[in-house]
Amino acid sequence: MEYSLLLNDVLFAFLIGGFSFGAGFSLFFVKQQASNTSQQYNNLNRIKNFGFGFAVLASISGCFLSFLILLTGVPYHFEIIQTLPFGVLAIHIDQLSAFFLLAISLLGTAVSIYSFGYTKEFIQRRNISLMIFLYNIFLLSMVLVIISGNGVLFLILWEMMSLTTYFLITYEHEDSASRKAGILYIVMTHIGTAFLVVMFVLLAGYAQSFDFGAFRSVRDQIPDSIKTIIFLFALIGFGIKSGVIPFHIWLPEAHPAAPSNISALMSGVMIKTGIYGIVRVSFDFLGPGPAWWGILILFIAVVSSVLGVLYALMEHDIKRLLAFHSIENIGIILMGVGAALLFSSFGYKAPAAVALLAGLYHVMNHAMFKGLLFLGAGSVVHATHTKNIDELGGLAKKLPWTMLFFLIGSAAISALPPLNGFISEWLTFQALLLGFNIPDLAVKLAIPITVALLALTGALAAACFVKAFGVTFLGLSRSSHTNDAHESSFSMLAAMGLLSLVCIVLGIFPGTVISFIAPVTSSLLGENISALSVFNGGSIAIQQGAGNGISPMVLIMLLGGMVLLPIVFGFAFAGKIRKRISMIWACGLENVNPRLQYTAAGFSKPIRMIFSNIYRSSHEIEVSEETSTFFKKTIRYELKTESIFQKYFYDPIRKITVSGAMIVRRIQTGRIQSYLTYIFITLILLLLFAR
Amino acid sequence: MLNPQWISLSIEILAATILVTAFIIVSSRSLLFYVRLFAMQSILLGAVALLVVIGYGETHILIAAALTIVVKGIVIPSALTKVIDKIKVRKEIDFTVNITTSLLICALIVILADSVARPILDQQQVSDLAVFRVLPVSIAIMMIGLFIMIARKQAVSQIIGLLTMENGVFLSGLSITYGMPLIVEIGIFFDIFVAVLILGVFVFRINQTFDTISTDILRKL
């Protein structure tokens, strides 16, 4: 297919060129600070439009490129340079890369459009050119990480991605929370990188090259023990990036600290590069391993999803809440991946394909709805200047469109049919059900527990989004923050609208979507998913003896028809509906105070009580200026929940590290002579060894 | 003779129901409810024994079955009910292990019981006979009985735990050897009966002396 290859080249050039040019050109203006003159403001505004324009262009070509690769099944290969020690530094877009590229590009398009309007307020306050530069580099590095075909190149780009993210987290650097989050992030991500370096070096030791193709070809020569080490290191290294529990602590700090468009990208796609890495290493490089690999991933997945959503329920900061939900959704994705690994280790290829499909489908879904939700949160914060949902309320009337899009996002993440979140959870359930055929006790115990906890996660997520959406948008306003709230600009709404549309399409046409993902699973597992499932357009079916399928397209038609029924019936039975607007019932109180409403903390209290063993929460009630027992001036209520990982995992590690550092400090005298002595001794020792 | 497949199916279902009663005992707080559930459990157990009689023609269990229903299903429960009425303690209030955790532990017990019994079943190659297949259930019930004794503090609950254990022993006896020899059964029954009577009197006395039947207090003796 000569023509498509040429088209690929052009699209690839646009993809890389767009981001690079967007980044490069903004560098020229990095010195320009915004002042009050409208001339300069307009200039910067134009620079901003250009910068994000390039990003949009590049992202769209990325979409097309990945579409082409997924449709034709021809990988795109591009060699940069032949270096002797590391093998060929090459770009290689196979099906798996193309799929993740599609997720990044789709979300990149929407977020870039959003940024036109969102970053407008930065022009006067901050260095907008720097933002454009970092933004483009960030997207570029993510894209390149996904498509690089060489270990060394991968690590370099991985590091580039981490550093850009650090600068973006600390973009609002006068806020000490941002700086702290940035430092936490950079420390965690470097620990991860260290594991990855070791992992790639181990692989390269057998392959004699850092080329991904070489890794694949030596799969059978690596002894099992080394394979296990590689797997575990990949799991830790990539796990830190994707924020699975217990490596999650950076995530809820870093995501809220960044500007909202960046949070959307970080949460939507950056953490997915970790998933990409896990899938790449465990399926592509290593192949099916022992069963406990799968069980381990399933365990991590279950813990991440349940604890992620439980911690999310306790949050009142809307962006932190969403960040915790990212941990939860990474868990759901890993359920699919872990189940796939588990099934394939027993040689059950077709169920493994369904499980992996479910995981990958959720990768795409989470990218879309979490991107949408972060953008929605961005709009809310933009309009009200507060992230605390307990200070919001009643925004439905002031931000009607944002509310609608946020509602679609909330429904999608709560897995309500026929939106996209439902499809991937359905697939995960089906995949787990298929696993019951495996005659192994551990598997048969692991599956019911995973099923139960996935169900729990889904329901808790719905509870959490009733809270997040309800407290933010519905009821009465709780503070003056909402007084001059205004609807977002057109580009921001357009971006959210685009993502909402994608969420709906992903939900209604699962068959079509699966036909794009199926090549990925079949390339990784060597098993075509159609052995077990039927999918076309609006319906899918998993066959397991007897077929069981869903057809969201028909379902939404049924739902639509059924909505008409009560309207028609009501009209026919008793005529036109009569409405009267009135005050709410407040036990006889005349004027309704918004403080009567449940707060976010109040809303989640039953869940806090039920899961008190996990939260170990403590609260403090402070009553001041008691004039009488019944009329109190102010009551301060403070609630703390304790992170078990903070206390039992990170604190000990930190203590050991600090005390270790104290010991090491003695060596560090600060005198140049002693350092030279160390070097001298090292040299002599080396010479002795190398003798 | 009835269709053996239906017999074995009914035995399995009864065994499952007995397990349910054990779980409900673990989940509840009311002492009277414990006693009623125990009565129900014993009657179900008697029904299992009757089915073994009908299905496999093991007539010697008939007496044991009748004894189970009469003694453990009616006599002991009514005696215990009287004790509860007299001592006026109706609720289990504080637990060594709370209810939610208890239930999870019992779930683990069932899984453990299965993994213990499975090798035996596989070895004997008898898993086509239903009675043998209730072995895991009987082990689970024994262990749940023991667990009730650990988790609860009231003396009446301790008795119920003991009796549940005994029911488990009876069920496993049924499952392995179609019931133990009659003389052993009767011996056990006598033991249990006397034990319950004595314990009942003890509970009454403990209550009179200490105003509580919580076994915590007994440590001070």
Binding site: L407, P448, A452, L555, G570 | -
Partner: protein
């Protein structure tokens, strides 16, 4: 064409029976409770009069609310009716069984719950938030038990498609009664009680602040909106009862549209549902409402029973 007419026929019978049987089931529960409590009680067709009255009455809309409040009754009603089309009641297989399976049914209930909970918050009163908060909390701890109980049956039948579950059990009666089904049935029964807000989890008759769950959430609803929400929750109860009845006792389902099998189908279905309704009424009479924080313990029983059911399926054998 014949096929199309048959489908349409089955479709409308299914819809009509569920729509108009639901208030009756509610009436039977109320009547049974009344008789058990030595009261005379209202007539069993009283719920129909209530609905008719509510449908005619004017709707009062809180000034604070947004459009969520106004669309919720329709969404709740529509999603419940969509479930009606997926659940085999009189006929098995139902014409739309390929549209959604049992997992879809659970998630369709979630739609209704999601929107009703939002509407509770939307009213802007203290009660709405209280109800929504409790409803969502309880719903989330119900979910694992429900999913496991249903998976037990799905594993036995080898499918999550409700019509296949029901048919498979009726073609091979040996797999119909399985010991693990006993556990799963009890698990699902507790789930039903919790999901449909009956005693001992929630009291559908109370309007006391401390104890309301579902009622608090819909406190601001009135007139036609309330009628649809009430009706939807009556249908929800009927759906759960028919799931219990038909998944575990799949007897007498009509396989075709001939008049004999139709009559048998309707008769079998009504008898099964009425028996279950009377059991629900018995449980309501014999138990007091649990404290809110005792509910997790009850649901833990359901969860553990369902978990054991699934594991027992492998233990006692297939």
């Amino acid at each position: 064409m014949k096929e199309f007419i048959d489908t349409l026929f089955v479709f409308s019978i299914q819809l009509l029976v569920m729509l108009f049987l639901a208030p009756l089931v509610n009436g039977i529960i109320k009547k049974t409770k009344a008789r058990l409590q030595n009261r005379r009680g209202a007539s069993i067709i009283q719920p129909y009069f209530d609905l008719a009255k509510l449908l005619r009455k004017e709707v009062v809309i809180p000034v604070t609310s947004s459009w969520i409040f106004r669309v919720t009754p329709y969404i709740a009603f529509a999603s419940t009716l969509a479930i009606v089309l997926l659940v085999p009641t009189i006929f098995a297989p139902v014409p739309f069984h390929w549209v959604g399976d049992i997992i879809t049914v659970i998630y369709l209930f979630a739609i209704a719950r999601f929107f009703v909970a939002l509407a509770g918050i939307d009213a802007g009163s203290a009660f709405g938030g209280l109800g929504s908060s409790r409803e969502m909390s309880i719903a989330s701890i119900i979910e694992p038990a429900m999913m496991l109980a249903i998976f037990t049956v799905a594993v036995t039948a080898g499918s999550t498609d409700l019509s296949i579950i029901v048919n498979r059990l009726s073609t091979t009666p040996a797999s119909m009664v399985h010991p693990s089904h006993v556990l799963a049935f009890i698990g699902l029964f507790i789930v039903t009680i919790a999901e449909t807000g009956r005693i001992p989890v929630d009291n559908p008759a109370t309007h006391l602040e401390l104890t309301m769950i579902h009622e608090a959430m819909i406190l601001e609803y009135s007139g036609r909106y309330l009628a649809f929400i009430e009706w939807a929750s009556q249908i929800k109860l009927l759906i759960f009862l028919s799931l219990l009845a038909n998944m575990f006792v799949p007897i007498g389902m009509a396989a075709d549209v001939s008049s004999i099998s139709l009559i048998i189908g309707i008769a079998a279905f009504t008898i099964k549902v009425f028996v279950l309704a009377i059991i629900v009424a018995l449980i309501e009479t014999l138990n007091a409402k649990l404290r809110l924080f005792r509910v997790p313990e009850l649901l833990m029983v359901a969860f553990v029973l369902s978990l054991i059911a699934l594991i027992l399926y492998f233990i006692i054998g297939t």
